[in-house]
Symmetry: C2
Subunit: 322 residues, 2 copies
């Protein structure tokens, strides 16, 4: 990995932020994608959209102060990744339902505040950039990354390139109609995969069945010996296998990678999805299913890669990003 030695003083690093509806993950990232400093704060959604912008700007300042405090590092680029609809070219968060943002010019705000180039991207797309550069999709031309968190979306690669679609709306795996007459989805459709298989859905469906609120990971573990958890988990895996069977038929991936928060369930998740997929893709070999080595940190790492691109030092965090 070669680094552009454009400064001979402090080592260059980037500031990366993954802004979600629940938490803001923030990090200083250096050569080769190494995290030098990392913290998680609560997203102040209850205080309104402006408070979240203020929190982001405050955290950017804190990251810069941390990196430059010792005099040994210099922040040369900033990457922000956010959910919802993003105009990456303009640096604008077009619409983020969880946060209440509408046409927030985040990139310009951060650049004005700091004087440092800033890149803004969609969180799932950024996770895909990280997965292709430093994760399991590196060197794989045709692949699918399913990011299973509060929501559920995918990054698709065909012939080595991310599939964007005509309006940059490709990869909405969570809204595949896996059971066409199934549960209504807030999106207005019925039977969407996200209603059954996202971590958010698993928590909600378990709470509906038992009255108990717990985490997706806990429910996955409970599924080994408790009926209600087993039912919720079985539906999630069945729904995922239907959705991934459709992906396989349409796109013929060499590999399916499972990322996002639920990927912390590890082999329990991987084996269940792989076995279920094999029952639904029978006339051709189903693609192998693997857990992302980047997990829920992929979005943050993607933000760091994009920050280095914005700074004009594309090899700083990862060579060969695509």
């Amino acid at each position: 990995m070669s680094v552009d030695p454009c400064v001979s003083g402090p080592r260059e690093v980037v500031a990366a932020l993954d802004v979600g509806g629940t938490t803001i993950k923030a990090a200083i990232v250096g050569v080769g994608g190494r995290f030098q400093h990392r913290r998680v704060l609560r997203t102040p959604v209850t205080e309104g959209p402006d408070a979240v912008v203020a929190a982001v700007l405050g955290e950017v300042r804190a990251l810069i102060a941390h990196a430059e405090g010792s005099g040994s590092s210099s922040v040369c680029g900033i990457g922000l990744v956010v959910p919802g609809s993003v105009d990456a070219a303009a640096g604008v968060a077009r619409f983020a339902a969880n946060i209440g943002w509408r046409n927030v010019a985040l990139g310009a705000l951060v650049e004005k505040e700091t004087g440092i180039p800033c890149s803004v991207e969609h969180d799932v797309r950024a996770a895909g950039i990280a997965e292709a550069a430093l994760g399991r999709v590196a060197g794989v031309d045709d692949a699918i990354l399913a990011v299973i968190g509060t929501g559920l979306a995918a990054v698709l690669w065909s012939a080595g390139r991310q599939v964007s679609g005509a309006s940059r709306l490709a990869g909405e795996l969570g809204h595949l109609p896996v059971w066409p007459d199934g549960e209504p989805c807030p999106c207005g459709q019925r039977g969407c995969l996200e209603r059954y298989a996202s971590a958010g859905a698993i928590v909600r469906r378990y709470e509906q069945a038992t009255g108990r609120h717990t985490t997706g990971e806990a429910i996955v573990a409970l599924a080994e010996h408790e009926g209600a958890a087993r039912d919720v988990w079985r539906d999630a895996i069945t729904a995922l296998s239907i959705g991934l069977a459709s992906c396989t038929m349409l796109l013929d991936p060499a590999l399916i990678v499972l990322g996002g928060g639920l990927s912390s369930a590890g082999e329990r998740l991987r084996a269940a999805v792989s076995n279920a997929l094999a029952t639904r893709v029978v006339w051709r070999d189903p693609p192998p299913v693997e857990i992302s080595p980047l997990g829920a940190g992929a979005g943050l790492l993607g933000a760091a890669i994009l920050a280095a691109d914005a700074a004009g030092v594309p090899g700083l965090v990862a060579s060969g990003s695509r």
Copy 2:
């Protein structure tokens, strides 16, 4: 459209054959994709796979004789398109269930017989090449062509390129599990789109319901005033809309084009699919749905484009094929 004037004698033309399980379509095609001669013969499947090879070779000879008989034309390339699994680089029909072919080196056989370069390709992929060069997908970077005939498959484009997949198995729209617990499919899966929405399925399901055998086109017309036809047609349209909703979520096409034999149903098909899709894609605009202007002849036109490529005269039939 520029033509390589590599001969100053007879006008250069290509021979194109679309070999299906029911018919062999054959044509002489000249500059700009103009059909100069065209005929359809029955595929002698009942006489075994070798008889079909012999029929193809016989028809190739007949096309050449026809073109060159008057002395005004010269066949510079041959294109064969076939169903099933095709190794286009090797010119081999790997597996075609309807015809009984297994590893038939069609390209080499034709070249040995004629001394003329021959290209072999999958019929649906060839239809996509024609649609992108001379049909509705020309100039559209992100699109889907659903080819609805005896079977059902698709060509997908992302950022201006056909999506091939890791094993050239992409586009199997017919095997999307639209009703996961639905009818068993000969492929071994359940609820495949092809079981409801292909012309073959419409004929079969209508015959199961009424005992009457008729064409898909006739059933579409009957659906306006006869209950059994209406039920079969409604299921076909519902299944298609579920499958195309999944395609839209994953790939975000700017356009969906309906081709293949059933596209002769025209506006009846287009309007029904478009309306059904609008009920299943609600949080974003559904893409427009159009009927292919090339219809069931797209495969043959694709064969002609590939024949010109094989002859080293890529601009002969269509400029800018992809």
